[in-house]
């Protein structure tokens, strides 16, 4: 198993140079100047889609669709997971009404909104998946 030392040293120097060159573009592309340090607003990074009046939300390709829905108080909303990966429907933070178990492919979750307000939620397994339900009186 032991390689001759000389060959190994040459390999290290050569590959290190290649790898350094290969790494520099990736480093700059992942630190765009529009992202100043750690000063991150907690608001969403992208403009939300226009709200859709519907009581069904599909979970597909690691996204909730529609991203923003509006319903009237008393409406039951149904989420259906079409992905092979499991997802959850979970209110932001520690409190909030939405709290599904992990949904496997084909599983559904239902919740009846009894109060008006804006309810944002995410998938706790893939927290980049975020969406909102607006409940009107």
């Amino acid at each position: 198993m032991r390689k001759p030392r000389g060959i190994w040293e040459i390999a290290v120097v050569g590959l290190a140079a290649v790898a350094l060159a290969a790494c520099s573009p990736a480093q700059s592309s992942t630190a765009p100047s529009s992202m100043p340090g750690m000063d991150m607003p907690s608001s969403s990074q992208s403009a939300p889609d226009a709200p859709v009046a519907t009581n069904t939300v599909s979970i597909k390709n690691f996204a909730f669709a529609p991203t923003t829905i509006t319903v009237k108080v008393g409406t039951t909303v149904t989420w259906t997971n079409s992905d092979q990966d499991p997802h959850t429907v979970t209110s932001d933070g520690k409190s909030g009404p939405l709290n599904s178990k992990p949904l496997n492919q084909g599983d559904t979750y239902q919740y009846t909104f009894t109060q008006a307000g804006t309810f944002s939620y995410l998938c706790t397994i893939h927290p980049f998946m975020t969406a909102t339900v607006t409940v009107t009186p």
Binding site: R5, A11, A16, L20, C23, M38, N99, L122
Partner: protein, 316 residues
């Protein structure tokens, strides 16, 4: 793993230290194709400085991350086997680590069976202490209750803690429970950090563990922590702060003033580079390439040195 493999690792480590010396920068990324990926951030380069990994009096620990025990998918059809390789690789190091830290996503779906399995696997680590912080996959349906039952003994709040070892002060933070897309520490934990470091002298080296990065690596994918600025403000007065995280399944290093951030890779499966895919979903590599994306991290610190040596090693 055979004895000759151990010897070979020892040899390459010494060679690596020699080769990194001539770069001479505070943070150097060195990648050697077959075997070793390395960052060294040990301050002023000194070719005569002894290898801290060979010094029995140095602080030496290992970080592993994102084992995702229970994951089923084409990106890695045998995550349990990969994590076993990582454990064996730690046990084959020429030194016995002061501790091994797993920076979260121990399990894939927080099931009791997955917690049992990962705990059992980690019990085979040859180290003085095995430590963890939770990932969001360790709290998918219970805000971390099963995680704390398995790994939370002796922790405060929702599972955070601090400790001192060989002159270094360590903080192990929890930023995956109150998710608001980005990681979140919360007011209670921020107050814990403020009080915890208040008593320390400013020349104490600080190491901070968290699952989600404490810097804005890629907020559109949630790769950041919304209240990290507040936490880091308590650490600005220290001469050396090293933040070690997981979550992003790839190596990345960034320095901001006195603080250096090192994202670790995974033992399970790669994720895309920031923005390189519609979403940060598991990447299936061509056959034979997976092991190149997986690895463990060795960290060493010698008292009197300005910073830590951080070395990332591919899974053998």
């Amino acid at each position: 793993m055979s004895e000759s493999t151990v010897d070979e690792h020892g040899m390459t480590r010494r060679q690596l230290m020699r080769h990194t010396a001539w770069f001479g920068a505070a943070v150097v990324l060195t990648v050697a194709g077959g075997e070793v990926i390395s960052h060294i951030s040990s301050g002023p380069a000194d070719a005569a400085a002894p290898d801290p990994f060979a010094d029995p009096h140095a602080l030496r620990f290992v970080q592993v991350s994102d084992s995702h025990i229970g994951f089923k998918g084409t990106a890695n059809t045998a995550v349990e086997q990969s994590f076993t390789h990582a454990v064996n690789q730690v046990n084959a190091l020429p030194f016995r680590p002061d501790f091994v830290m797993h920076t979260g996503d121990l399990t894939h779906l927080s099931t009791p069976a997955q917690f049992d399995q990962v705990k059992q696997m980690m019990s085979h680590l040859n180290t003085a202490q095995t430590l963890t912080v939770p990932g969001e996959h360790d709290s998918v349906d219970d805000a971390g209750q099963k995680y704390r039952a398995a790994f939370g003994a002796g922790t405060a709040g929702d599972g955070w803690y601090s400790f001192d070892l060989k002159g270094v002060h360590f903080l192990a933070l929890v930023n995956t429970l109150s998710l608001e897309k980005l990681g979140h520490l919360g007011a209670d934990q921020l107050e814990f950090i403020r009080k915890d470091v208040a008593k320390l002298s400013s020349d104490t080296p600080i190491v901070v563990f968290s699952h989600i990065p404490l810097f804005a690596m890629y907020p559109a994918w949630g790769w950041g922590t919304d209240d990290a600025v507040q936490a880091l403000s308590y650490l600005r007065r220290f001469s050396s702060v090293t933040c070690l995280n997981g979550h992003v399944h790839q190596l990345f290093t960034k320095t901001e003033g006195n603080i250096t951030f090192h994202s670790a890779t995974t033992t399970a499966y790669p994720l895309p580079k920031p923005g390189a895919a519609p979403a940060p979903t598991p990447v299936t590599l061509p056959a034979g390439k997976l092991a190149d994306a997986l690895g463990i991290r060795e960290v060493a610190y010698r008292p009197g040195n300005p910073g830590l040596a951080v070395k990332d090693v591919k899974l053998a």
